[in-house]
Amino acid sequence: MTRPSSLTLRLTLLFIAVATVVFLAFGWIIGRSIEEHFGAEDIKELKVITQAVEHSLVTLKSHDDLAHIEQRFDDLLVGHHSALLHIVDAAGQQLYASPGPDLSSMPLPNAEQLAQGTVQPWSDSQHNFRVLTRHMAEASPTGRGPYTVFTAVATDYHLHFLENFRRTLWLMVVCGIAIMGLMGWIAVRHGHRPLHHIVDQISRISANDLNSRLDPDTVPAELTELATSFNDLLQRMEEAFIRLSNFSADIAHELRTPVTNLMTQTQVALSQARNATEYEEILYSNMEEYERMAQMIGDMLFLAKADEGLNPPNASDIDLVSEVRNLLDFYEAWAEECQVSLTLEGEAHIKGDCLMLRRALSNLLANAIRHAPAGSGVNIQLGHSDHNVFIVVQNPGTPIPAAHLDRVFDRFYRVDPSRQRSSEGAGLGLAIVKSIIEAHGGKITAASDEDFTQFRINLPLLNIS
């Protein structure tokens, strides 16, 4: 994937594009309206001249007047700068032609246009003209009519003006675009300043001060969400970081105890000669420590993989009743030794990973049997509520103080620190239960009062696809 181009570049290009469109449209409109204005002026002038000419022609009394007419038309043209006039009679004979360019070489429009009078551009080799050609309907008293009148005005001056104007306009457009681009760039850079400010703040956060936060009130409204979600990220990271550091510390601590035992025991054993039975005894004792450590490592690996999301559940249909019965079967003998009775109520089906859920329930059940006083019973209830399946494991026993309830699922957490490393295993059992239940999209909660300690699992029915 290629990296998207910089925001500054994008916005600047956008500014330039917008400026180009706006300026060009603007320039085009101005150019057009000036051109039209000139055209209208020309046509007005042409019409005035043509009317005057026609009037003169209509009012001709006799052939005699024809002699004066040239003078009359010359006078008529005097007031109009660079106007031309050319008149022919019905026979095509020239009645009058003003000095200058010869309009007779101009192509004639068709008859209909001629009758109405039409304006068209025309140019000889040097000049440009706008020409009004009109075919007079009325017969003239002189008998030579009807006449066709060509009136022309030179448009060179206007064209020249327009050309200059367009050149200036283009220059302005180019300058305008350049200025807009530059200003856009500056504006964008300036507008990004709060962003740089945030980046500065973020880059100052190191692993040691994950507790610092961005203040969402000091950033522009558009960035509030960014700041808030970044703060959330920091929050999650801080929690994970703390958990990880605690976990590492716990691992070190948990491993130090058995390693110390092993070292001390071995050193003491080696400090003097002993008989074979004694050595054997030491090896057995060491073996037990090793096994405990191996199991701890296995459990920690399971949890580490769960943290990485590497324990994806394989979904299959599970009949929780038969699953729990198997577990009760497994624990039955042990529970009887502890004088704890096991009971199961209700029924439930669920989709989930059979091996993982079995492990979770096994840990929970072992925990309950271990903490149930002799003569009491562990009760398991299964059932459905809304779109959930619940599993409740309940045993009487010493209540867990409220402050500890949330933490019983923490790794290596023990309610009673003095009971460390006794029969309880590594203290990872409930943490494993929690990670398995969460991998299934479920929730586990603990509650404890004078009568019972209770773990409740809620699993969504459609938890994994």
Binding site: E291, I297, G298, F330, A333, R358
Partner: protein, 228 residues
């Protein structure tokens, strides 16, 4: 029975060899992948124990080459990494079993024996016997010295497992997985309690004790009394 161990960790390899020799096997130990592969190709072995992580040629490639060369010898993998991908990969390549370090030696031994037995044609016995203990497999009845012993279904399954593999030390994890289908370590002494109860039924009233505790390893059934 002749085994080949390919394991680059010198200490692990030596102890494995010693343990397996003491368990009655003929064992060759090779410390690198290439030599291990040649050894496996030239000599005839009943089982290979391969470490996955070897410095030169890893266990997967050795297995692949062996299978491509048409060697069907059973292979047991040892690995320090336990991921499902690894497991699937191993089984796809034709590995027969898979053991994650650290493992209990008794577990390895039990699996080695299972793999070696797998080649033999299954015998469908109707009854099993050790000393004067007799198991009627069809009717799920046990008796000792002609005297009927009442066992629960799980107790019978446990006893059957022990008797079928008499003389072999069975680690607790193996017992839990074979009898109760619990494939993870439990930090309880459930298996010990179950064995204690079974003992109460088949051994307590007899002078010859059949079920032996092998400390630090597991349990076995054998006629050699006084082992523990």
């Amino acid at each position: 029975m002749k085994l080949l161990i390919v394991e680059d960790e010198v200490k692990t390899g030596e102890y494995l060899r010693q343990g397996l020799i003491e368990a009655g096997f003929v064992v060759d130990l090779i410390h690198n992948g290439l030599d291990g592969y040649h050894q496996a190709m030239t000599e005839r072995y009943d089982l290979l124990i391969l470490d996955v992580m070897l410095p030169d040629v890893d266990g997967w490639r050795i297995l692949k080459s062996l299978r491509e060369a048409g060697k069907a010898v059973p292979v047991l993998f040892l690995t320090a990494r336990d991921s499902i991908d690894d497991r699937v990969k191993g089984l796809e390549l034709g590995a027969d079993d898979y053991l994650v370090k650290p493992f209990v030696f008794a577990e390895l031994l039990a699996r080695v024996r299972t793999l070696l037995r797998r080649g033999a044609a299954p015998v469908s016995e109707l009854s099993l016997r050790i000393a004067d203990l007799e198991l009627d497999l069809a009717r799920h009845r046990a008796s000792r010295g002609g005297q009927h012993i009442h066992l629960t279904a799980k107790e019978f399954a446990l006893l059957e497992l022990l008797v079928r593999r008499q003389g072999e030390v069975l680690p607790r994890s193996l017992i839990a997985s074979q009898v109760w289908d619990m494939n993870f370590d439990s930090d309880t002494n459930v298996i010990d309690v179950a064995i204690r109860r079974l003992r109460g039924k088949i051994d307590d009233d007899f002078d010859l004790k059949l079920i032996q505790t092998i400390r630090g390893m597991g349990y076995m059934i054998d006629t050699l009394d006084g082992h523990s």
